[in-house]
């Protein structure tokens, strides 16, 4: 029996983001950056637009979006932009984000795009690279819609991409259900995050 508080049903994610990631691999099989595109859901997009419409009334949408972009990037800076990267199970340092762009598609889907830079290039010859992107509070659910959402850029013929779906246990599920609208559940998000694994070990002897 679970010793958990019953609480609100479906209070877990209130919004969702579809993730698309380009993994940039150089000629010597090193990964330098992960270029991420986040597509926000239509309702959350509306909420954000409302906020910036009010903050900068009458300004053109480009300016409003830029202000939104700046705030997002700033508030995520201390959280490695919600990204965790590992090489052969060892965590890698993240240097920061650059080349941030924002646009709105069909007036309904906000797209944030940025390039996340690793502190040091990660050699794929030394083990598999894995990453996960998630909102720790699980207010927003962040998922890759499918394996095609992860693209390997560069010399990566022999690399295999695998998305490992989250397997939260009953305790996490019940806890997710118990998080209320305005609250947060720090540390909950990772139990609902996908791990993406890039394995190029079989191509190691080609060099």
């Amino acid at each position: 029996m679970l010793l958990l508080l019953p609480a609100t049903a479906l209070s877990h994610p209130h919004a969702w983001i579809d993730l698309h990631v380009d993994v940039d691999i150089d000629d010597s099989q090193n990964v330098h950056t992960l270029t991420q595109t986040w597509v926000f859901d239509p309702v959350y997009t509306m909420l954000l637009l409302e906020e910036y419409e009010r903050a900068l009334p009458g300004a053109d949408q480009t300016r409003q979006l830029e202000a939104l972009r700046d705030r997002m990037m700033e508030s995520m800076a201390d959280y490695d932009h919600m990204t965790e990267v590992r090489l052969d199970q060892q965590p890698l340092e993240i240097a920061g984000a650059e080349e941030t762009r924002i646009k709105i598609k069909d007036d309904e889907a906000l797209k944030l795009r940025f390039t996340l830079k690793l502190d040091e290039p990660a050699p794929l010859t030394e083990g598999s690279l894995s990453y996960r992107i998630f909102d720790p509070t699980y207010y927003i659910e962040m998922l890759h819609p499918g394996e095609e959402a992860v693209r390997l850029k560069g010399t990566a013929e022999d690399c295999r991409v695998q998305i490992i779906e989250p397997r939260p246990n009953a305790a996490h599920l019940a806890q997710a259900a118990a998080v209320d609208l305005g609250g947060s559940a720090d540390g909950l998000g990772r139990h609902f995050a996908q791990w993406v694994e890039i394995d190029c070990s079989r191509s190691g002897e080609d060099d």
């Binding site: 019953p6 309904e108 509070t137 609250g183």
Partner: protein, 338 residues
């Protein structure tokens, strides 16, 4: 003392087991930590529990429920978008339908409303019709709360939709406080009845636990405690708006489609009411079955036992409300804003 005494733990145990069964996901208010830890996930405990639990049958069921809810949540969001792009009757009807299905599923997950209602119905004799009425009224009130809340905060007070959604947490606190108050009220009533029996019981050799009541007191005809507790139950459950409803209304308001939003939220309430009613029927039946079993054991026994059970139910609801209140106070808003 009384030769019926040994039955008491059995009765209580049976009812509590039923309560746990009737609360999906085994989300039991009886956990030893029901009053303890607010919900900050203490990692080690979580992990330990995870190791012991892995994904049990309950977990799988809840997992399936939650993933279905997630899909429905996405369907709601895209339904809103479709309506925005094309405000046609078909799209409006679609959104209402999705909302209804969402309501049915939403209610099937763990939730404090169901825990309160099923605990109440398991521990207080209630006519079946009244149990169903209770479920429908609470669901409808939840919808009305959501509508008034969004209208009041966004339209009247002019808050940003996002900030209005954050305010739901405050309303939630009120609701949890009401649950605790309901529990206290039920305890008081049961306690009073027990005391009264006690003072009458001196004529018999039964002690206080189960006096025969030779006169029929008017309250007993209606079940335990007349209209008051039912109203209090409706209020405590209905004061908490459903998050899906708030989301739809906020979006509807931004698109200037209040009518569609209100219809969708009412459909959602209807769906919720259907699921909760099914649970209520189960609870009322279970209680009837338990009473029948007991009555075979000795006439008049239930009159006293029923009060003890009602007291236990009141205590559970009181603990539940208090625990939820404390947990809700303990949650901190996110530090970053996406």
């Amino acid at each position: 003392m009384s030769h019926h005494r040994p039955l008491m733990p059995l009765v209580a145990g049976l009812l509590l087991a039923l309560l746990v069964l009737a609360t999906p996901a085994g989300a039991s208010p009886l956990g030893p930590d029901a009053l303890g830890e607010p919900e900050g996930p203490t990692e080690q405990e979580q992990e330990k529990e995870a190791a012991e639990e892995s994904i049990g049958a309950a977990g799988t069921a809840v997992g399936w429920l939650l993933s279905t809810q997630r899909d429905l949540h996405r369907a709601l969001t895209t339904g809103v978008r479709e309506l925005r792009n094309d405000n046609s009757l078909a799209n409006g009807a679609w959104l209402v339908l999705i909302s209804f299905v969402y309501g049915v599923f939403h209610a099937a997950g763990p939730g404090h409303g169901k825990a309160v209602i099923s605990t109440y119905l398991l521990t207080h004799r209630t006519a079946l019709r009244r149990g169903i009425l209770l479920s429908f009224a609470s669901s409808l009130l939840q919808a009305i709360t959501a509508i008034l809340l969004v209208f009041g905060l966004v339209v009247v007070a002019g808050l940003l939709s996002r900030d209005a959604m954050q305010q739901v947490a405050t309303v939630e606190l009120v609701s949890f406080g009401l649950v605790a108050a309901l529990g206290a009220l039920l305890c008081l009533r049961a306690g009073r009845t027990l005391l009264r029996r006690c003072s009458q019981g001196h004529a018999h050799h039964h002690g206080c636990s189960c006096g025969h009541s030779h006169h029929v007191d008017p309250e007993a005809v209606q079940g335990h405690g007349g209209r008051w507790p039912v109203v209090a139950t409706i209020l405590s459950v209905g004061a908490r708006p459903c998050t899906g409803a708030v989301l739809i209304l906020v979006a509807a308001n931004l698109m200037g489609l209040w009518t569609a939003g209100i219809l969708a939220v009412l459909a959602m309430a209807l769906g919720t009411a259907l699921t909760v009613s099914a649970l209520a029927v189960l609870a009322v039946r279970a209680r009837g079955w338990a009473s029948a079993l007991l009555n075979r054991g000795g006439g008049g026994l239930l009159a006293g036992a029923g009060d003890w059970v009602a007291l236990a139910g009141g205590l559970i609801i009181l603990l539940l409300g208090t625990a939820l209140f404390v947990a809700a106070l303990g949650t901190t808003p996110a530090i970053y804003r996406l």
